[in-house]
């Protein structure tokens, strides 16, 4: 399989470049609907990246939740936006200077944090399978898991109450 090593590296960098390119297009394209389509491609690319890293389960969940569910929600939200593909709508507003400062500070700290973190590469490949994940969720992390499910239940009931027609 050694003959494939350079090919795999090449494909990996190509994939990363593709993810970055679609991400850039997502934030720069004028048409909001096109932005959503490119966001879907970005998320798909990240899923393929997970496949590359042998994290199959996370990859499938990424597609199922982000591409399948959340993108549908995003597209629904966009559909309710008026003037979504009007080129005369400016892409920036008067708060661009403060926004730049804030995002700049956050970016600098993020980069500093990334540089300071020692990225330990373990010698053996840790296979995180669904069984281990399920046991961890139901054992070690049972409290956060239950709290999240409670939050979701509250959100569900809230949505029903809000959407219910008044009698």
């Amino acid at each position: 399989m050694d003959a494939f090593a350079p090919l795999a590296t090449f494909a990996l960098y190509g994939l990363m470049l593709g993810i970055l390119a679609t991400a850039v297009v997502t934030v720069t394209v004028r048409n909001l609907f096109h932005a959503a389509i490119f966001l879907a491609f970005t998320l798909l690319g990240v899923a393929i990246l997970y496949f590359f890293l042998h994290a199959d389960f996370i990859a499938a969940i990424q597609i199922l939740l982000y591409v399948g569910a959340i993108m549908t929600l995003v597209i629904f939200a966009i559909m309710l936006t008026s003037r979504m593909s009007d080129p005369s709508v400016p892409q920036s507003n008067r708060q661009r200077i403060p926004a730049l400062v804030v995002t700049g500070i956050v970016g600098v700290f993020l980069i500093l944090a990334i540089l300071k973190t020692p990225w330990i590469v373990s010698g053996t490949l840790q296979t995180t399978n669904a069984v281990a994940l399920g046991k961890a969720l139901m054992g070690q992390f049972v409290l956060p898991f239950e709290v999240i499910s409670l939050v979701l239940l509250v959100a569900l009931i809230g949505a029903i109450v809000t959407a219910r027609s008044d009698q």
Binding site: F4, F33, D56, L64, V67, G68, A69, T72, I75, A130
Partner: protein
Amino acid sequence: MQQIDQIFVNAKHAILDLASGFLPEWVVIVISILVSVTAIAIFGPVTMMYLTLLERKAIGRIQNRYGPNRVGKWGLLQPIADGIKMLTKEDIVPQSADKFAHFLAPVVIVIPALLIFAVIPFGRGMTAVDLSIGLLFFLALSSTTTIWIFVAAWGSRNKFSLLGGMRSVAQMISYEIPMVLSVVPVLLVVGSFSTVSIVDAQAGGNWFIFTPWGIVGFLLFFLTGVAEVNRTPFDLPEGESEIVAGFHTEYSGMKFALFYMAEFMSAFTISAIVATAYLGGWQGPWLPSWLWLMIKAYFLILVMMWFRGTFPRFRVDQLMGFAWKFLLPLALLNIFAAGVWIELDAPINYLVAGAIVAVSIVILYWANKPDMPKKRTYRYAYE
């Protein structure tokens, strides 16, 4: 017998043996990948072509007519004639359409439909890729088609298209939840997502459909699957009598054919996956393994066609009510029944799980009874 069972596997090995004689090892690996890919890339579209013919023939028989019978013997060349017609048709793009979205949707929608073929175990040792997440891979990919249907609907800039697209999204979001939950019992029992291990777990006639939770799970998975591929009685997104053709109203020629192709290939893959999960996949006596899977898959496809020839279309509120008030609670209770079935011993567990399933179906049926208006009593003036 063994020969016929492994005929396709042996054919691939013969090609590889021939190649490894004079080619370096990495080329042989590439050829090995290409053989599987080519087989799937041909099998998918050919299946779709002949499914259209089968559907027209079957529906024709149901409606007391012949169906296509002019092109070739029994109309066998009809799909090819249709293909040529589709290719030579004018490609019309509406003037005010979103050109990018209108072009992209039919092209991308075929990819997930074709990729799902990779995890179907067609026979003993005949799975293209034995992914450790096989079933989840299928669920994930089939959920992505929603976006492209909606992109097509939006890109057409047509009211009927948009209505169809919105119906499609609402339907798929609703039916995806019971669909995912309906395969959970299988995963509980097998303890793996891999389609190959699911089939192996059903060896020796122990098909999951022969258990109480298996019958319910099979029906749930099959019905939600029919809903996922937008077939009758769940074909609201393209209801001809209401919204022209729904999301593909503005498509012509090959772009329309691509939508059609994605739909029929999904109909085949869903049947094959349902057969894998609940009907024992390629397990079966006497006949070769790949023939068994085909028989089971085509049986389910014929049931789908039978549905189409028999059932009227759901109303939107019936569609939503069926998914949220009946299928979803039943899927959850079925998981419970499967858990009980695993924990208890052999003869008792069938009884207990069967009782749970039967009671929950009766209760859900009773709770879902439509409100009948009270019978009016008339009081006449002359009495």
